[in-house]
């Protein structure tokens, strides 16, 4: 019987809650999360099935002042795992909790985290959209050579791809916002 496994799993920018549920579910089935690498490969090792709550935070300031950031979570009983594309991973066993615990205890701080994600992950995409894709559609279409035709085509495809992403992510963030403000 193998005692480690690796799964490919892709979560988009607004899907941190889905990812938390996924890691918790794995642990319940006896697969303890070890790490995730840049190819979205999730590594697990075999363990006793247990209900362990996984939580993701997105906090640039915490990543800069890492020691004291992690210390605060540890003081509250949360084990720090790693950082991955800006998110910090924490877990805590349900048996050590008094009732339901999360790393955020009010909606205002949940909303603040969503804003940090938008600022940290979405703004760069918006910048690429306006500073690279849009100007290039115009510039490439001004020149009449085959290579520029191809490039125009590529940037137009990117234009629509980004547009779809913005709409999709926007919808996800809106849903989360609605959920919090319910």
């Amino acid at each position: 019987m193998k005692d480690t496994k690796t799964e490919f799993k892709f979560f988009t920018i607004p899907e941190w809650e889905k990812e938390q549920d996924y890691l918790r579910e794995q642990h319940k089935r006896g697969w303890k999360f070890v790490r995730v690498n840049f190819l979205c490969m999730y590594h697990f090792e075999k363990c006793e099935p247990e209900d362990v709550i996984y939580q993701l935070d997105y906090n640039q300031e915490g990543r800069v002042h890492k020691e004291e950031y992690i210390q605060m979570f540890q003081d509250c009983g949360w084990e720090y795992m790693q950082d991955y594309v800006g998110y910090s991973y924490f877990r805590k066993s349900a048996s050590e909790m008094k009732g339901e615990e999360e790393i955020f205890c009010d909606d205002s701080s949940r909303l603040d985290m969503m804003k940090r994600v938008i600022k940290g992950r979405m703004l760069p995409l918006v910048a690429i959209f306006f500073l690279v894709i849009l100007p290039n559609i115009y510039l490439q279409s001004q020149v009449e050579t085959p290579i520029n035709h191809v490039l125009t085509f590529v940037f137009v495809i990117m234009f629509f791809w980004y547009l779809i992403l913005f709409l999709w992510f926007g919808y996800q963030f809106w849903k989360y916002w609605k959920f919090i403000n319910k």
Binding site: D57, N59, E67, E68, F73, C76, C105, S109, M113
Partner: protein
């Protein structure tokens, strides 16, 4: 007190209020968590993500100030501006409480 501070902190969240209340004495984040748990008899346990976010926000807005670091824990204290905000909140809550008793 400028409009931004008023808009963000008046009225403030329960967490925010307890943080300011506790920081009239120097403390680090986890110290506040413990103090609040004690004050509320275990009713309110501030989570670390909320605590960390609130402390950085309040420090940036000048409601609290960093004093020193002790064993990887940052110690803070309330500022004059923080006192003003806390005072506004206290008066608001006192009024709330008074009115609640009147109509009950």
């Amino acid at each position: 007190m400028d409009a931004h501070i008023r808009k963000v902190y008046v009225p403030m969240t329960e967490t925010g209020f307890y943080i300011l209340l506790c920081l009239r004495e120097e403390s680090h984040g986890y110290g506040i968590v413990q103090k609040v748990e004690e004050l509320t008899e275990g009713e309110i346990r501030i989570s670390p993500g909320t605590m960390y976010g609130s402390l950085s926000k309040m420090e940036k807005d000048g409601l609290i100030q960093f004093v020193r670091e002790e064993e990887k824990r940052k110690i803070y204290r309330i500022t004059d501006l923080g006192e003003q905000v806390l005072d506004l909140e206290m008066r608001r809550i006192e009024r709330l409480h008074r009115n609640m008793l009147e109509v009950r």
